[in-house]
C-alpha cells in the first residue's frame, strides 16, 4: 500500500505543478495589463510589480512565481486595499470548510441510508420513493434548490434566516442545498452496489451458515457495498467545493467561494489567480486523502 500511496502522492504533486504552470501561462493571455490598470492604487501597483516580477523576462517571472508559491505566498488583492490573498483565505476558508463539512456529513449519511433502504426494498414503494428523491437531487442544480428553499422557508414562512452564517439555524438551508446533489449520487451508487453485492456467492455462503438477515445485511452486504461509494468521494469534494461558489452567493455567506466569484466579477485578477491556485491544489490534495481512505477501507489494497 505504501508503494501505491507514494505513487499517488507524486502524481498529486506533479498535477499541482502542472496546474500552477497552466495558470501562469493562461494569465499571460489576459487582455491588457491586468495587474497594473489605472484603477489600482500606486501602493498596490508597487506590490504587484514586486510580487510578480512584472519587469523581468518571462522565464524569470516563472521562477519568481514558483518561489512565491513555495513560500506559501499567494499574492495580493487588487480590490481590497492592502489585503493579501493569504489573509482572505485564512479569514474565509474556515467558514466554507464548515459549510462543506456539514453538507458532506449530511449527504453521506442520508445518502447511504436512502440507498440501503432502497436496495432492501427493491422495486417496492420505499425503493421508488428513494430513487425519485435521488434523481431529483441530481437534476435540480444546487443554486435553484438554494433559492427555492430561501424563498419558501425564509421569505414566505419565516422559519429560517434567509442569509449569513451566524448560528446553527443559518446553516440548515445552505448545507441542505449544497449537499443534496451528493446525497442523490451516494444514494444511487449505494443502491446499485448493494444490489450487485447481494448476488455474490459469499452472500449465499452467509445464508448457508444460518446467519440471520441482520447479520448478513450488515457484515456481508453493506460492508462490501460501501467500497465503491468511497471512490466517489474525490469527485464529491470537488462538487461540494464548486457548489460553495453559488450557495455562498445565494445565502450571502462570507466564505471563500463567494470571494472567488466576486473576484471574477470585479476583475480582481490577482485575487482570482491566487484563489484558483488555492482551490486547485486543495482539490488535488483532497483526492489524495480519499485514496488514503480507500486504502484503509479495502483490505485488498491495504497490503
Amino acid at each position: 500500500m505504501s508503494k501505491y500511496l507514494l505513487k499517488r502522492f507524486l502524481i498529486s504533486i506533479l498535477t499541482i505543478w502542472i496546474l500552477i504552470t497552466i495558470v501562469f501561462f493562461l494569465v499571460r493571455l489576459l487582455p491588457g495589463d491586468p495587474f497594473i490598470s489605472d484603477k489600482v492604487t500606486p501602493e498596490i501597483a508597487k506590490n504587484m510589480l514586486k510580487y510578480y516580477g512584472l519587469d523581468k523576462p518571462m522565464h524569470e517571472q516563472y521562477i519568481v512565481f514558483m518561489k512565491n508559491l513555495l513560500r506559501g505566498d499567494l499574492g495580493y488583492s487588487l480590490r481590497y486595499k492592502g489585503r493579501t490573498v493569504n489573509q482572505i483565505v485564512i479569514d474565509a476558508f474556515p467558514r466554507s470548510a464548515d459549510l462543506g463539512i456539514r453538507a458532506l456529513i449530511f449527504a453521506v449519511i442520508a445518502g447511504l441510508m436512502l440507498g440501503i433502504i432502497a436496495a432492501l426494498n427493491q422495486n417496492k414503494n420505499w425503493d421508488k420513493l428513494s430513487m425519485l428523491i435521488a434523481i431529483l437531487g441530481i437534476s435540480v442544480p444546487s443554486f435553484i434548490v438554494g433559492a427555492l428553499l430561501q424563498y419558501f422557508f425564509a421569505v414566505k414562512l419565516g422559519w429560517l434566516p434567509a442569509a449569513q452564517w451566524k448560528g446553527f439555524a443559518y446553516t440548515i438551508m445552505p448545507s441542505f442545498a449544497l449537499g443534496l446533489g451528493t446525497l442523490a449520487l451516494v444514494a444511487r451508487l449505494m443502491r446499485a452496489s448493494m444490489l450487485e453485492v447481494v448476488n455474490q456467492d459469499y452472500i449465499k455462503t452467509a445464508k448457508a451458515k444460518g446467519l440471520n438477515q441482520a447479520q448478513i445485511t450488515w457484515k456481508y452486504q453493506i460492508r462490501n457495498a460501501i467500497l465503491p461509494v468511497v471512490t466517489v468521494l474525490g469527485p464529491t469534494v470537488a462538487y461540494l467545493t464548486t457548489g460553495t461558489f453559488v450557495v455562498e452567493q445565494i445565502f450571502a455567506i462570507p466564505g471563500l467561494g463567494r470571494h472567488y466569484v466576486i473576484s471574477i466579477q470585479n476583475l480582481d485578477y490577482s485575487l482570482t489567480l491566487g484563489l484558483t491556485i488555492f482551490f486547485g491544489s486543495f482539490l488535488v490534495l483532497m483526492n489524495f486523502v480519499v485514496d488514503i481512505v480507500y486504502g484503509i477501507v479495502d483490505p485488498r489494497i491495504r497490503l
Partner: protein, 343 residues
C-alpha cells in the same frame, strides 16, 4: 426400527417464474440419504442437480423460485415449508454446504477467522476466545498450514485450494449431520482437486457426516460415493450403488456419460471423442415423454409419449427407462457399443 435415513426427498418439483414463463427446473425428484453415507449426484449443466440440492437448504431465492410440490424430510421432520427463521437454525449447524467457486464464496472484507467464528457463535453458546480456539483446531483439521497466523488474514491472501479448505472448515465446524458439496473441485486445478478430495475422504471417515456430492465429473464420484444418482432435464434417470452404475449401467444416458469420459488406455478402440448428439430440452416446455428420447439411439414410440416410471431392477438399482419394460426389445450395453461403432 429406527430409520437410518437422514434425508428423504419425495417427488420434489421446483420451478422458477420468469418473465418469459415457468421454468421447470426440477420435475419430480425422489431420493434418500442414509446416515454416514455419501451419494453422488451426476448430470450435465442445467439438469437440476444444483437446484434440487440447494432447495434442501432453501437457498434458492423464492421468488422467483418455488417448491411446487413434494416434500423434504430431514431426520424425519418435514422441512419443506419451514420459514426462513426455522431454516436458519438448521443451516450451518445441522446442514453445511460448500460451493463451487472458492474464489468468490468468502467475504472479501472479513478476516477468515471471523468468518469461521461467526457461524460457530451463531449456533452455539460459546465465548469468542473458545470459538477462536475451535476455529484454529478446525483449520488444522482441514490441513491449512499455520492456522494460528492465518486466522487473521483476508481471503485474498489465500490460494483457491486453501480457500476451499476454509470453506470446508466453515461448513463442518458445528458438526453438521449433512454436508452438501456442490461441485467442490470443479474450479480447482487437477492437483489441488486431488488434495481436496483426499481431505474430504479423510474427514468423511473421521466425522461420519452424510454427504451429497454434486459433480459432472464421474471420476470424482467413483472415488467418493457409495451410491449414485444420474439426473437429466430435471428428472432422475437412474440411481443405485456406485459399482452397479459404473459396471452395469442401464439407462442410455448413463451409457453416453460413461462413454464420453476420454480414455487413455489400450482398451479404447475409439479414435474420436464420443459425445451425445443434440442438446437438453428446453425447460420452459419440457417434453411429456422421456426427456432423453430425442438424443437416444434406442428410443421408441412410447418414449416420446410417456415418461417411464422408476423401476427397481436389482437390489437398490433403479432406472426410469422403457427399455426395462417386458414389451421392449432386448438391448444390452455391449451391443449398444457395438452399434455405435458401426455408425
Amino acid at each position: 426400527m429406527e430409520s437410518k435415513k437422514i434425508l428423504e426427498v419425495n417427488d420434489l418439483r421446483v420451478s422458477f417464474d420468469t418473465y418469459a414463463g415457468e421454468v421447470q427446473a426440477v420435475r419430480g425428484v425422489s431420493f434418500y440419504l442414509n446416515k454416514a453415507e455419501t451419494i453422488g449426484v451426476v448430470g450435465e449443466s442445467g439438469c437440476g442437480k444444483t437446484v434440487s440440492v440447494q432447495s434442501i437448504m432453501k437457498l434458492i431465492p423464492m421468488p422467483p423460485g418455488r417448491i411446487k410440490q413434494g416434500s423434504i424430510l430431514f431426520e424425519g421432520k418435514d422441512i419443506t415449508h419451514y420459514s426462513d427463521k426455522q431454516m436458519q437454525k438448521i443451516r450451518g449447524s445441522e446442514m453445511g454446504m460448500i460451493f463451487q467457486d472458492p474464489m468468490t464464496s468468502l467475504n472479501p472484507t472479513m478476516k477468515i477467522g471471523n468468518q469461521i467464528i461467526d457461524v460457530l457463535r451463531r449456533h452455539k453458546e460459546i465465548s469468542t476466545a473458545d470459538a477462536r480456539k475451535k476455529a484454529v483446531e478446525m483449520l488444522e483439521l482441514v490441513g491449512l498450514p499455520n492456522p494460528k497466523g492465518r486466522i487473521n488474514q483476508y481471503p485474498h491472501e489465500f490460494s483457491g485450494g486453501m480457500r476451499q479448505r476454509v470453506m470446508i472448515a466453515i461448513a463442518l465446524i458445528c458438526g453438521p449431520k449433512l454436508l452438501i458439496a456442490d461441485e467442490p473441485t470443479t474450479a480447482l486445478d487437477v492437483t489441488i482437486q486431488a488434495q481436496i478430495l483426499d481431505l474430504m475422504k479423510d474427514l468423511k471417515n473421521k466425522i461420519k457426516t452424510s454427504i451429497i456430492l454434486i459433480t459432472h465429473d464421474l471420476g470424482v464420484i467413483a472415488g467418493m460415493a457409495e451410491r449414485v444418482i444420474v439426473m437429466y432435464a430435471g428428472k432422475i434417470m437412474e440411481s443405485g450403488p456406485v459399482d452397479n452404475i459404473f459396471l452395469n449401467p442401464l439407462h442410455p444416458y448413463s451409457w453416453g456419460l460413461l462413454k464420453s469420459v476420454p480414455r487413455l488406455d489400450a482398451f479404447s478402440k475409439e479414435k474420436k471423442l464420443s459425445a451425445i448428439p443434440g442438446y437438453p430440452p428446453d425447460l420452459f416446455s419440457p417434453p411429456k415423454g422421456c426427456p432423453f428420447a430425442s438424443r437416444c439411439n434406442y428410443s421408441m414410440e412410447i418414449c416420446y409419449e410417456a415418461m417411464p416410471k422408476m423401476t427397481e431392477v436389482s437390489n437398490g438399482h433403479h432406472v426410469a427407462c422403457w427399455l426395462t419394460h417386458p414389451l421392449a426389445p432386448a438391448v444390452n450395453r455391449k451391443s449398444a457399443e457395438g452399434n455405435k461403432k458401426n455408425e
